[in-house]
């Protein structure tokens, strides 16, 4: 141990390099073996016809070409994009409201923060099954509430119609991920100097004026972060639709991830890989848009 010391003083850079290499090696090894190589394997795999009982054969971009005429693929893309287009804005708006509540100085602040975390912290598979029961046509909670409130006389067929199933997925996802958005936004709210609000009060600005002119513009960067996170995550949606709707009815809630999974399951590795790569490109394109809008948009003061 002692012998290390003079070495560091004599040649600090070499010794630091050696130590650094040693310290980051495990990280690079694991990420390399279990993420990077699989990613490369998927990219290469998407260029092959790779199905059960037939010899593996290079087909170039044929798997990607096949996507264009695959109606079920486009249905999955439509569902996934519509899903993020509706769920993400809802989550941001509700998340901001929730963050304001969690930031408010009330005696139940700690309890509220803890309770809000719970939907986020439990496995999506468990909440998915709970929502499946809630949406049960004959005895679920959703239709029971609708009956008590006299909203509708006939029970709603939540999971049996495509509109019902879509709404069901949105509600369950908003329930699960709004807390995450709220927590990120809360950190942004806490970074806003309290003096600004005091000044607003001195200027006799109302609650909503203060919200519009202070809270909203100053939490813009953190809203962009939350948007980015939720969009990338929403594009990958898998657990919830797998458990809650099984992608149905009639494939109407099959996400791109779930669609690719069906091909992996039936051992069409090449086509499943091509679908996965397209999903990655979608995520990349959307995040580039956000980064551009987030950085070069009008800077609020």
């Amino acid at each position: 141990m002692k012998s290390n010391n003079p070495l560091r003083q004599a040649d600090p850079l070499t010794s630091q390099l050696r130590a650094a290499a040693l310290f980051i090696a495990p990280l690079l090894l694991l990420i390399g073996l279990f993420i990077l190589i699989p990613v490369i394997g998927t990219i290469i795999g998407s260029l092959f016809r790779d199905v059960a009982f037939l010899p593996r054969r290079f087909v170039g971009l044929a798997n990607y070409g096949r996507l264009f005429s695959d109606d079920r693929f486009w249905q999955a893309v439509r569902f996934t994009l519509l899903f993020i287009a509706i769920s993400v804005p809802l989550e941001i708006v509700l998340g901001l409201a929730l963050a304001l509540l969690m930031d408010a100085d009330t005696p139940v602040r700690g309890l509220l923060r803890a309770c809000v975390l719970i939907p986020w912290a439990i496995p999506a598979a468990i909440s998915g099954r709970t929502w499946e029961l809630i949406y049960n046509y004959s005895y679920g909670l959703a239709n029971a509430i609708a009956r008590w409130l006299h909203v509708s006389s006939d029970p709603v067929n939540w999971l049996g119609t495509s509109f019902g199933a879509f709404s069901a997925v949105i509600v369950a996802d908003v329930w699960k991920t709004t807390p995450f958005v709220a927590i990120i936004l809360l950190a942004g709210l806490q970074a806003i100097p309290k003096e600004l609000y005091q000044q607003a009060r001195v200027d006799r600005a109302g609650l909503f004026t203060a919200f519009w002119s202070i809270t909203l513009p100053l939490s813009r960067p953190v809203v962009v972060v939350a948007l980015l996170f939720r969009t990338i995550d929403g594009l990958r949606i898998f657990d919830l639709v797998y458990v809650l709707t099984h992608g149905g009815p009639g494939g109407s809630t099959t996400s791109v991830s779930l669609y690719a999974y069906e091909y992996f399951l039936t051992s069409d590795f090449g086509y499943g890989s091509a679908i996965s790569i397209v999903l990655f490109l979608m995520a990349l394109a959307l995040s580039l848009v956000y980064v551009k809008v987030g950085r070069f948009g009008p800077q609020a003061q």
Partner: protein, 276 residues
């Protein structure tokens, strides 16, 4: 004056609504798990209390629930522990050592975590099948560590960079090596942050679904989320009482963890998110 009354009533109405929205599904889950039948909400069948669902789930070995729970605990604890260790080493190197490509490494980690899981799982299955690891704990532990590492690294880098350099210098004066500085100085000082990362890693591993679905085939390695997702009745009737009892048992430790460590979890999440 009027303003603050309006604010207060608005705040408290909002809090009640938020709590109701967050907790109602759990209340329903618990109610069904303690009920003799899942359809107690329909008027003809009033609620009757029973512990049978819990008894079945905990003692009926043919349901394999206890095996799923054991697998989940083992896989998540081991993954989280190794993940924290590896991420600490790397975060130390990034924040304390001079080497080219430090920022590149951080952004590499971020880029890697953007790749959708579905683009990994197919190849991963082939790989695990070729080494005969499908349906073993290590088939999940290794990918979980790799999958959670980027987030852990980002959070730890943000915690480590807040620790004053003077502490390291003092340790070097005393003749500590880099490894000793990390273990004796940095880790104790950053202990709360390291613990946050451990908690978050545990939660992520515990909740993971797609890898577990694809890489396990039965109760020998299957985790709780997949076990509960695939829980089916023998006679076509979904055994909702059993499923909800299993869900309550699985949710309980998570609820207790979040109630106790709410501050730690929020701290970890925000420092990871806001640096990015």
């Amino acid at each position: 004056m009027k303003d603050s009354t309006a604010r207060n009533s608005l705040t408290y109405t909002g809090i009640v609504l938020a709590l109701l929205f967050c907790l109602l599904p759990f209340i329903y889950m618990a109610a069904v798990s303690f009920s003799t039948r899942a359809d107690f909400l329909t008027v003809e069948t009033p609620f009757t209390f029973t512990l049978d669902n819990f008894r079945a789930v905990l003692t009926d070995t043919s349901l394999h629930f206890t095996a799923y729970f054991r697998n989940s605990m083992l896989i998540s604890l081991v993954s989280a522990a190794i993940c924290v260790a590896i991420a600490s080493l790397a975060a130390y190197a990034i924040t304390r050592l001079e080497f080219p490509g430090r920022m590149l490494l951080l952004f590499f980690a971020l880029a890697v975590s953007m790749f959708p899981q579905i683009g990994i799982v197919g190849y991963l299955y082939k790989f695990m099948a070729s080494v005969g690891w499908v349906n073993t704990p290590q088939a999940l532990i290794l990918p979980y560590i790799a999958w959670i590492l980027p987030l852990s690294l980002w959070i730890l880098v943000s915690y480590f960079s807040q620790i004053p350099r003077e502490l390291d210098k003092a340790a070097f004066m005393d003749g500590c090596t880099y490894r000793q500085t990390l273990i004796r100085v940095i880790l104790p000082v950053a202990a709360p942050g390291v613990f946050s990362v451990f908690l978050l890693s545990f939660i992520f591993a515990f909740n993971e679904f797609m890898f577990a679905l694809m890489l396990t085939t039965n109760y020998k390695a299957r985790t709780i989320p997949v076990g509960i997702a695939l829980f089916q009745g023998l006679h076509g009737q979904t055994p909702w009482g059993n499923i909800m009892a299993a869900s309550v048992i699985t949710t309980l430790p998570v609820v207790i963890l979040t109630l106790i460590f709410q501050r730690r979890i929020i701290g970890g999440l925000t420092s990871g998110a806001l640096k990015g």
